[in-house]
Subunit: 212 residues, 2 copies
């Protein structure tokens, strides 16, 4: 098993789920070894970056000979701890929040939205499927013990007031769709999903390609 | 102006919209110069990465003295071509697709979903707000001239059949929420938004932090 104390950069850590999923797919297709240049084609990450990332774990094999797909699946799977189920609270049941509840990460049965919060009286004490929606004012009372992860799908203007309340209720991991960076405790981890920036960046790359 | 022919890595290009938005916010707050370590705190990207990214453009200033916020806004804004409006087609009007139409990138008035496609007879020839929904079978006839960008929000199982049809209709830039990588033309640019991977990666980082 990989040494959990290995110093790995944050950028590398962000790529691990991509590596993990690509390796899983190759395993399902019966592929046993993969070289970094082939992997680069599949996941659109430069092969030099892949080799550098993999070498930071030390034991994944040599690039020239190819990496063992089974080893990649096992090691990255352990790193990501997909074996441990994670119950999630959803904050903000607008169109996006409702869509997230409906989809509910069905691709990974260990990720499970179990409760939702909103401040709209028309939504409070209703449910989507079997996921109940409560008043955000009752966050502390309603949040089940052991839930430390929240997805925030509130309007950008509400984000700065929502985050401290989540922290006060014991949330330590937050994925948010409001791109404005927020001050948070050093023990809190926030991931910003910024669809506008993603689209702008896609268009920039696409325009460069069209010009080439 | 920055030299458009400068060789810039894809990873750097993906970060440009983040830099651009952070610089815009600082400009609105009256901040005139910013050092890479301060910027790193705001956007959660290591300062060494920021310095390396900025140096790849050559003319943005020296880190020790700080970068001119106005220069960053101007140069990155030009790079991202936010001045050129971009009309977008949305493919797949489920919960997520409908939420994207409702939100319609209101943070950037130059990004505009103008038309949507689905194969559900209950949705075809209806609209959300003033965005019409047509049959995906009519993609080629209905897609307005000049639309080369699509957002794909179809079930993962449909993705592989949808992408070639988009390419045949003249789409060259695709942002998709189905994470399975798809074969595409060399002239097509695809950006995969993988919320499951993002969440797994967030949880990995958060768990590491809790252990530390």
């Amino acid at each position: 098993m990989l040494d959990a104390k290995t110093k790995v950069s944050k950028a590398t850590i962000r790529r691990i789920p991509l590596y993990y999923r690509a390796a899983q797919q190759m395993q399902q297709q019966g592929i046993r070894r993969v070289r970094s240049d082939k992997l680069a084609e599949i996941i659109h990450i430069p092969s030099a970056t892949i080799r550098r990332d993999f070498s930071s774990f030390g034991e994944l094999g040599k690039s020239g000979y190819g990496y063992s797909v089974a080893t990649l699946v096992e090691e990255f799977g352990q790193l990501l701890q997909v074996q441990s189920p994670e119950d999630i609270a959803l904050i903000g049941v607008g169109g996006l929040g409702a869509a997230l509840i409906e989809n509910n990460f069905r691709r990974n049965p260990d990720l499970d939205i179990v409760i939702a919060f909103d401040h709209d009286p028309a939504k409070i004490n209703t449910s989507i499927g079997d996921i109940p929606i409560y008043s955000f004012a009752e966050l502390k009372q309603r949040l089940p013990k052991g839930v430390h992860t929240a997805i925030v799908a509130v309007p950008s203007s509400s984000q700065a007031s929502v985050i401290p309340q989540l922290e006060a209720a014991g949330i330590t991991a937050i994925m948010t769709f409001a791109p404005q960076p927020v001050a948070c405790k050093p023990t809190t981890t926030i991931r910003y999903i910024d669809l506008t920036s993603e689209l702008q960046s896609l268009l920039y790359v696409a325009h460069q390609k069209q010009k080439a």
